[in-house]
Amino acid sequence: MNDFYDVVVIGGGPAGLAAALSARRHGAGRVLIVERDRELGGILQQCIHVGFGLHRFREELTGPGYANRYLRMLADTTGIETMIDTMVISLTADRQVTVVGPAVGLRTVRGGAVVLAMGCRERTRGAIRIPGSRPAGVFTAGAAQRMVNMEGYLPGREVVILGSGDIGLIMARRLTLEGCRVPAVLEIMPVSNGLTRNIVQCLDDFGIPLYLSHTVVAIRGQDRVTGVTVARVDDALRPVAGSQFDLACDCLLLSVGLIPEVELAREVNLTLDGRTSGPVVDNRRQTSLPGFFAAGNVVHVHDLVDFVSEEGEIAGRWAAVFAAGGMGGEARSADVLPGEKVRSVVPQKYVGDGDHTGQCRFYLRVSQPLGRCRVTISDRTGRRLASKRLPVAKPSEMIEIDVQHSAIEIEKGPLTVAAEGV
């Protein structure tokens, strides 16, 4: 048994699939995808709503539909092995990847390069400390989505949703269509962090009220949830005395945020970005440890799968180049920093591109809602490398900005990405 692969991809979601295909296209002879689940496709498999692939395929696909496009490409490609129902449990800096699964047992494989594509996980009740009893009926929205869409069971009959992230919004609609009552979606912030189209299509169209600046202060019920106590919060997000009211429900879904799944990244001490919670990457999606690349939700939580695939392609390509020894020791790099009104930006480093043609795409999130605005990227000398006008910008919606590689001079770093009202 040959345990060496040019590129080992951890995670078989859209980021991992795109990375594997791209690595193969760029010359990696033997590629391995390791996927914990029993099927490839990642989170897409449970997203049966449409809204995937508008950019990539100019079509509105369902999540599984989008995944299938890639699975077909995978079937048409030789040289990519997959291990499903198999989990990576440890990593070493010299790229030994230990996997475990019922079929493969416990094995260690080695990669010429490794691509991290583990996606993200949901924040849970513990992380947000809701007092009260601990009855059945409190789920994360994604776990509930999986139950409804893949197993055909419902998490409750009267469902309050805490958090207006996209999964929460989509579940509000899904559960309503399943015959459940959704008395409210609650959001602690003064603005929703879901996509506008989801607020319209999932809440407004079904008459589901969205309470902004409200949160759950207690969960009631001994065996099963019987209700929640809701309060309005002040600017410091503290409950306002006297604003409490009760909502009867038998289920509380939490859609209170996603965090990159970085356990394995920690094992090899990759530098993490406190703003995205994912590893710091350069424009080739190489992390702080040479030979380790990352793409998709493990780097930063994406809104649209199209960009996840795109990022996977970049990571896969450069992983293949690295494995072939073609990367060279690029010593020069420029940091990419979030400036005024920008919360985070990816990639966090710029190292240039092999042939220096074409564009480099930066993804950013603004730190506050803005109306008509301009997003710019400039270097240390203040020279503006690119700018983009937007009618509105919200922290919940990722923004892309493209820069010509030929326009960037690394010695004039750091680059700063900023937003300003116009």
Partner: protein, 500 residues
């Protein structure tokens, strides 16, 4: 159909008669069952909840106290010191998780120093081994994160932390292996009496004729006793709230840290758990509802500020969950252990508040001796002391993991990623002598769902495994108690709606 199925599962080989019935499957009942299983006798333990050790035993500080708190001569003092010793002795055979990492009572004022001297003296009278007072420097070298204004500490090396559920289960499994019958979901509802002498018990599953009943019903022990005709004591629940922290802050403290105690309570403590997390708590509040297990916002603040007196820099962002325990405090304050003065055939193990966990093996031993003496029981040949090994994926090295997966591939499927728990372990927990029937039961036995994400990811998968292994539909699986169903079938819902 499903309810029937469950019913059948539970009441197969229902015993019509027994020598001894133990009421309550907490740590005390389980210890009693284990010690009684050394005798030739028919022993039945009934527990009303869907799993063992879900009363006070489930949510407490998990500390095996050294035994210096209780007044010399009290039942508490005697049981605690003996219990601590038994936990040391029984571990190799029963294999529960325990860590004897020692405890430190921290003194900060002149008054505290006086109290410390008093505790030292008490401890010596109670027969606690190796306790000493250590100076500030040695305290801080043991506990570098401790508040700088510490003056001295009472060091007790025999104290430890245990996982109470694991200990209770280990004792119960040993008891079952040695012939004791355990029924969960079985509630004692009354007695059959013959002139103020017990001749049987009534339960929701049927009657059992018996000669002797051990009352280990925790915070309901007063009620059980009253039904038999002994109303000599009552029990008040006293609430204690906790916050549990992630393992990432596990090195914050190295031993069990107490503030100098007051009359009401041992105070808010900071301690490692046996699994390497850290917890703070408990506060102490008398309440009336014996089922009120909710945490409160003021309670959280109280324990946070209390814990800060010991450890000023609390890593609050690493808090992963919070929980509540209810202490069963008896009217007389000491444990009530021994034959009832009012009813024949009733042996009390009641009012078992703190340090009841630490004392439990000693209490179990004592009540089994009383029962043996009353019924003239003799030791049984072939008693099996040892519990078999239970492989836990997370604790094995690579070679052991490989062997295990080769024997049973289910050990290669990781279900809980936070704690690295495999499907094999979950299946084993379901089919063990006192097997898991609920999601929380699986969690307690395997740690699946105990980690950072608190079951967000593995919870639904565990429901699926339980359903498959027990031959039940998914919507029959509960989290814990009856009515704590997790998922609903789609059709039921639609059907339900169409009637409206």
């Amino acid at each position: 159909m499903t309810a029937d199925n469950r019913e059948k599962l539970a009441v197969q080989d229902w015993p019509g008669r027994a020598d001894v019935v133990i009421v309550g499957g907490g740590i005390v009942g389980c210890a009693a069952a284990m010690f009684l299983s050394r005798y030739k006798a028919t022993v039945v333990m009934v527990e009303q909840a869907t799993d063992l050790a879900m009363g006070t035993t489930k949510a407490n500080s998990g500390i095996i106290h050294a035994g210096f708190d209780a007044p010399p001569g009290s039942m508490k003092a005697r049981m605690n010191v003996r219990g601590n010793r038994l936990y040391h002795e029984l571990q190799p055979a029963l294999k529960y998780e325990v860590n004897f990492l020692g405890s430190l009572v921290v003194a900060k004022s002149d008054d505290d120093l006086k109290t410390l001297e008093g505790l030292l003296d008490r401890g010596r009278q109670n027969g606690v081994p190796d306790i000493t007072i250590i100076d500030r420097e040695r305290v801080l070298s043991r506990e570098p994160n401790l508040s700088r204004d510490v003056r001295a500490g009472l060091w007790a090396p025999t104290a430890g932390v245990i996982w109470p559920f694991g200990a209770a289960l280990a004792m119960a499994e040993n008891a079952v292996r040695n012939g004791v019958k355990v029924f969960t979901g079985c509630r004692l509802e009354g007695f059959m009496l013959d002139r103020r002498k017990i001749c049987g018990v009534r339960t929701n599953k049927g009657d059992i004729a018996c000669k002797l009943v051990i009352n280990a019903a925790g915070r309901w022990a007063d009620e059980v006793s009253r039904w038999a005709g002994d109303d000599s004591f009552s029990i008040t629940p006293r609430r204690g709230e906790y916050i549990l922290f992630d393992k990432s802050v596990g090195s914050l403290v190295n031993s069990v840290l107490f503030p100098t105690p007051t009359k009401v309570s041992k105070g808010i403590l900071v301690s490692p758990t046996v699994h390497g997390n850290i917890f703070i708590g408990p506060n102490a509040e008398n309440i009336t509802d014996k089922d009120d297990l909710s945490t409160t916002a003021p309670g959280m603040e109280e324990i946070i500020s209390g814990a800060r007196k010991l450890i000023p820099d609390l890593p609050l962002a690493a808090a992963i969950t919070q929980f509540v325990g209810l202490r069963p405090v008896a009217s007389g304050d000491d444990f009530i252990i021994g034959p009832s003065a009012l009813v024949g055939g009733l042996v009390q193990a009641a009012g078992i508040q703190s340090p009841g966990l630490a004392s439990a093996p000693a209490i179990g031993e004592l009540v089994s001796e009383i029962a043996a003496e009353r019924l003239g029981l003799v030791r049984k040949p072939g008693y099996v002391e040892e519990n078999p090994d239970r492989p836990a994926f997370a604790e094995l090295d690579s070679r052991q993991r490989q062997e295990l997966i080769a024997r049973n591939p289910l050990y290669g499927r990781i279900i809980c990623r936070c704690e690295t728990v495999s499907e094999g372990e979950i299946v084993a927990a379901i089919h063990s002598p006192v097997g898991a029937r609920t999601v929380d039961g699986v969690k307690r036995r395997t740690r699946a769902g105990m980690g950072r994400c608190q079951g967000g990811f593995c919870g639904p998968r565990v429901v699926g495994i339980l359903a498959r292994e027990l031959g039940l539909p998914l919507d029959a699986i509960v989290k814990e108690g009856p009515g704590s169903q997790l998922f609903f079938a789609r059709q039921t819902l639609r059907g339900g709606e169409s009637h409206e």
